[in-house]
């Protein structure tokens, strides 16, 4: 019986990888547990093991091939005790078990909310293609080169090179004094970071995910956000709390939550959530340079996506400025973080149906750039807010309140919000897809506000 060996997913969010090396050749007989190949992602290199006995009949993807999508057939294998022969058109799938997984679990499905859409460039001049992950790392590295007060602290940021490989290479360049692995003690190290900032340093505190920052939220709000005000402006807390936020893929309710509305409710904090790699870099640099405490919300599903990033090392995106990522005239879609991708995807679908949507990436959620939102509304007179998060007391709620208070006369239809479903995020693939915000719902909402246009 012929079996297909498929490109494995080595982390919950992996979409493609490099087939770095074959350790077997055609005709080799292998048994379960034998290492067949080495697979590289931008996070790590993993070994790919056989899960069954048999002979490798054909290698379809040669060593060194980059960008091999998860699920692609990379080799054919003849089951034990059977004659080798040509592969049938439809072959049973043999899942190969990866070993040494970089993040907690290996879950195969591709992300459901991530939609790769090319947005309009946010900058001019020469640029380089980078993943969001690399852009974030470059931002930290550049600021650390300039300013010795900047250091990075968190779980697995140093020797492990980052649980999601955002801090890859920083330990090698800056050493253990400035790239510091902590024990699993979020409350403690968030407080240590805040104290170090009060003492004059510029900490970048990484939470492995913002779900774990709930253990530390007292220091983010009570210690960091209120210090400057409570001290009458004499004691500052210039600190960046950063890490992935929002739903990843198939990690269940406790690991999938968007905390943007929580932090954006707190005076004294800056809250930022980039979408593309250029913003990831320029916004993180602005966050590190800021004299104020910043909550910097990244998204795991975006880490591996590539975008053009300016090569200039002084590329800083101003705090508090939204960006029009797609100009349009008939309806405004407002979003941030991964929701921008959903909104752009919807805008492209709408364009095919003759509706011209403008897409705004809020970028900074506190302070909110209401001017850009209201100005766009005055042009389009219709608005839909897109958010990968719960609907109640959300950023969408806040945008709608602002529009009611300040843009009511510009509205030709009620503002709609398109968000995740109001439930804890389920694990099952089909339910998770149903729960998360999606472009089709945005398209439907836009059509409803554009009725009679």
């Amino acid at each position: 019986m012929s079996m297909e060996l498929k490109m494995p997913a080595l982390s919950p969010t992996m979409e493609e990888g490099t087939l770095a090396k074959w350790l077997v050749k055609e005709g080799d007989v292998v048994k379960a547990g034998d290492v067949l190949a080495e697979i590289e992602t931008d996070k790590a290199t993993m070994e790919f093991e056989a899960v069954d006995e048999g002979a490798i009949t054909q290698i379809l993807i040669p060593a060194g091939t980059e960008g091999v999508k998860v699920g692609t057939t990379i080799a054919l294998m003849q089951g034990d005790g059977e004659e080798a022969g040509p592969a049938p058109v439809v072959a049973p799938v043999v899942a190969a078990a990866p070993v040494a997984v970089a993040v907690a679990e290996a879950a195969p499905p591709k992300p459901v909310a991530a939609v790769a859409v090319v947005s309009e460039p946010s900058h001019e001049g020469p640029s380089v293609r980078l993943t969001v992950r690399e852009a974030l790392r470059d931002a930290m590295a550049e600021e650390m080169r300039k300013d010795d007060r900047v250091f990075v602290m968190g779980e697995e940021v140093a020797q492990y090179q980052g649980a999601y490989k955002v801090t890859q290479g920083l330990l090698d360049e800056f050493g253990a004094r400035r790239v510091i692995d902590t024990p699993i003690t979020e409350h403690g190290f968030a407080g240590i970071g805040a104290g170090a900032a009060m003492g004059g340093l510029r900490p970048v505190i990484e939470f492995m995910t913002f779900n774990f920052a709930m253990q530390a939220i007292d220091h983010i709000i009570n210690s960091a956000a209120k210090t400057n005000y409570m001290s009458g402006g004499q004691m500052r807390c210039p600190i960046v709390f950063r890490g992935p936020n929002g739903a990843a893929a198939r990690v269940g309710a406790q690991h999938s939550q968007n905390y943007a509305p929580w932090y954006a409710a707190v005076p004294g904090l800056i809250v930022m959530a980039p979408y593309d790699a250029a913003d990831a870099k320029g916004m993180l640099k602005a966050a590190i340079q800021s004299e104020d405490p910043v909550v910097f919300l990244e998204n795991e599903l975006l880490y591996g996506q590539s975008f053009d990033v300016p090569v200039a090392d002084d590329y800083v995106v101003p705090i508090g400025k939204a960006r029009i990522v797609r100009t349009g005239t008939q309806v405004t879609l407002v979003s941030y973080s991964i929701g921008v991708g959903v909104a752009l995807d919807a805008a492209n679908q709408l364009a095919a149906e003759g509706i011209d949507a403008e897409v705004i990436d809020l970028r900074t959620l506190r302070p909110l750039d209401t001017d850009t939102v209201l100005k766009s509304l005055s042009k389009t007179n219709r608005m839909v807010v897109v958010e990968e998060g719960w609907p109640a007391c959300s950023i969408a709620s806040e945008i709608i309140a602002v529009v009611m208070e300040q843009g009511f006369d510009d509205l030709d239809a009620p503002v709609r919000r398109v968000t995740n479903i109001d439930v804890p995020l389920p694990y099952a693939n089909n339910l998770e897809k149903l729960a998360l915000v999606k472009a089709a719902d945005v398209v439907a909402a836009v059509k409803s506000v554009c009725q009679g246009m």
Binding site: P183, H187, M198, N228, M235, P367
Partner: protein
Amino acid sequence: MARKPASASPPASATLHPPVPQRHGAKVEEMLEFYRQMVLIRRFEERAGQLYGLGLIGGFCHLYIGQEAVVVGMQSAITPGKDSVITGYRDHGHMLALGIDPNVVMAELTGRAAGISRGKGGSMHMFSVEHGFFGGHGIVGAQVSLGTGLAFKHKYAGDGGVCLAYFGDGASNQGQVYECFNMAELWKLPIIYVIENNQYAMGASINRASAEDQLYRRGESFRIPGIQVDGMDVLAVRGAATAALEWVRGGKGPIILEMKTYRYRGHSMSDPAKYRSKEEVQSMKDNRDPIDHLKAELLDHGVTEDQLRVIDKDIRALVTKSAEFAEQSPEPDVSELYTDVLVGQY
């Protein structure tokens, strides 16, 4: 099921300890200064209590009366401008012992523009970066993590400074304290954890709240040495401070000083005083008072009652002046409502 016999002798503790501290051998001049500072704190706090009763101070107000020897003894040993101090909400004494002007402290208590936090912090939220005083924190236990961060800064910057992080017996049961003990010892941070064990966390006596009531032992799981100190004796406190600073400045990592002390007043101004007897409080005042104790020692050293009366009179004048200043200073301008939320303009 048969039980394994207990091993003949438990493994020796791996925690290294400094030598047993000696009571500080102070000269008369130094003792007079300790006396002056303790009396200042006592009279200041008494006046704050009065102003609270008059409605001039609002909200929570936690008085330090009874515990004066702790901050005076500890802070006489540190180097101003180099070391850092952080504490919880019972913070007035810590500021006065750092030499911060009583006027701006009292004006903060009354919520006036001239207050050290421009009237926006209040009793629990006062800071003076200039004096190395980093608060003044209202969340029990938070100052332990923040103080460990200040110690991290001292080590990172190589500035030779040490952080004094004060917290109470109540805070010593908070989880973040142990997270920080672990990291402080792991990274050998220059910090002295000063546990002001005044025996009551609000109304919960230490024996009702703490399975291990010998708080100086609380670092043993992290190999942090601890010393129990008579916190009602300023010279004993100073002696322990000297030993602890030598340990920490020598790069040996953190140390815990448990100060056995006592607060005469309630937890805050609104305290039912039902959790301990009047006799217990009176007995501490009569027999263990840190100011009386030092006064007796000064008289033994040949200082006269008249000399001490001069100090007392000067302190009363200083405190009266601070109360007048705090009452007469204007409230913050309404525009202050919106200032200092963020440093930057965005």
